[in-house]
């Protein structure tokens, strides 16, 4: 069973001839040097970048042809960070994820229970009433994740979700993603090869807008490939540097 299928997928100058098939569940990380096309690819999958060349389908239907509202019930996207200008509360931000299900001006009991559930999962319930702008980076990231979860998606796309987080929060975020990936597809763009190696089921490496490697993390992330793509000498240790919370 597949979710996303890409054939000869391209976008302006950022992406060329990408082809892959994603399963219905599991954690896939996309990595690569700056400007390799990671965010562009994620944006296409999220239905935010069009027109793209070639084909990219979700559930058998071309992404750009999906009605937006219906697509938002299947695929949720987490931006790298959210710059909030206005005093929305945490709960309001989380409830925004219910928009693709909304039928009018007011939230339903189901919306509120979905928000409650997502806030419990992400451990954000305790500050539901706080102004989003007063949150720390880690708290904000969890709230954004909660908002995406209220969409009840089949696929969750995250753009560098751990970038602004300290080690402890990076680990707990990825643990949560692994947990979620048991029942839905999680695709995360990351620069952290250790996180990719340790947590993902599959790693896709992009280089100059092309897929340079795609497969199980232990096979893909070898010193030869890392040297070629990232231009650094990597050493694979018998024991990886592990952090524990």
């Amino acid at each position: 069973m597949t979710s996303f299928i890409a054939r000869q997928l391209g976008f302006a100058y950022g992406l060329h001839d990408a082809r892959f098939e994603f399963p219905r569940s599991g954690l896939i990380t996309i990595t690569g040097p700056n400007g390799a096309g990671k965010s562009t690819l994620l944006g296409i999958l999220a239905g935010l970048r069009s027109p793209y060349h070639g084909s990219c389908t979700f559930g058998g239907k071309e992404v750009r042809h999906w009605p937006k509202r219906e697509f938002a019930r299947k695929v949720a996207f987490l931006p790298q960070s959210v710059r909030m200008e206005f005093p929305f509360t945490v709960e309001e931000v989380v409830l925004m994820g219910r928009t693709p299900y909304a039928s009018g001006w007011f939230q339903t009991a189901e919306d509120r229970s979905a928000a409650e559930e997502a806030m419990t999962t992400t451990d954000t319930l305790t500050f539901r009433g706080r102004d989003f702008r007063t949150l720390s980076g880690g708290e904000a990231q969890r709230v954004i994740l909660a908002s995406a979860l209220t969409q009840r998606p089949e696929a969750l796309l995250l753009d560098e979700p751990a970038t602004h987080l300290d080690l402890r929060h990076q680990l707990s975020l990825y643990r949560l993603l692994v947990e979620l990936a048991k029942s839905l597809l999680v695709v995360a763009v990351t620069h952290d090869l250790n996180l990719a190696l340790r947590f993902s089921d599959r790693v896709m490496v992009l280089e100059d807008g092309r897929v340079a490697a795609d497969g199980p993390p232990a096979e893909v992330l070898n010193p030869a490939l890392i040297a070629r793509v990232f231009e650094v000498q990597a050493t694979v240790h018998a024991r990886w540097l592990t952090y524990e919370a």
Binding site: F71, A72, P79, E85, F86, F88, V93, G97
Partner: protein
Amino acid sequence: MKRSVLSSAALLAIVVIVAPLLGSSHIELGRAFAGRSPDHEIFFYARLPRVILALLGGAALSVTGVLFQCMLRDPLAEPYTLGVSSGASVGAVIAICLGWRATGLASLVGAALVLLIVLGMAVEGRRLSSFTLLLTGVTMNSMAFAVILFLHNLASFSQSFAISRWLMGGLDAVEYSTLAGLAVVVVAASALVMAYAPHWNLLAVGDDWAASRGVSTVRLTALGYIAGSVLTGLVTSLTGPIGFVGLIVPHALRLKLGADHRALLPCAFLLGGAFLVACDTLSRTVIAPTEIPVGVLTALCGGPFFLWLLKSRRRSLWL
């Protein structure tokens, strides 16, 4: 939410009932309704149309302020700071000079043109630069002022008088038929905008944020700018440029109500109306029988408020 909308409506009702009774000469409501002179004329032909115009104008400018701040994600955006009001003024002054009757349409075109220029200047790829936005707004304001001064010099004596009266942002009595037309447009445009209140919430966070939750951002943004130009253009053509209403009212409301547009938009409509009616009443009573143009009063209140916003301790959060 319902409570704040209801209390805003109540406040507006009180202001609208009290305002026409206040003024340089004392009138009695009973005599006015009985058709007795001069109370009847003062109430129905001098004060009531002004109050209605102020109400519609304040409501329209506040709603536009909320819209611009939301779409640009910039707390300092409003029709006046972006130069949109000045664009509308140039349109209206050109119409006055050429003797056109369609000042409203000319204003609307002026407002829309300036908005296009300001947005075109401030777009950097997929982002809008707040600095460029405001600097372009300032530049458009000065250019508009220069054009108006130039036209003013060329104009005949009576035109020149009409222009300067109008420029000071006055709310002189307008005919009821004009007011009815304005009311229809302002109420319809505001209602249309309010119907999308939940979607404005998402757009206030970000374009991708809204689009990835199923909102048609392009259509919504187009609606916002068209509604904003129509509201600003039409109101400005009748009242002259009135600044800062779209800044003071939305920000005061956000402090009290938070950022939810479902409460913010209706309250901005109601209290924006109440605010301008109150300002206008003040402007014609403080040093009666001389009137201060209402635009002078709102600028005197709004200017310092704008500076405070800039300097405020929330600066790191807001800019």
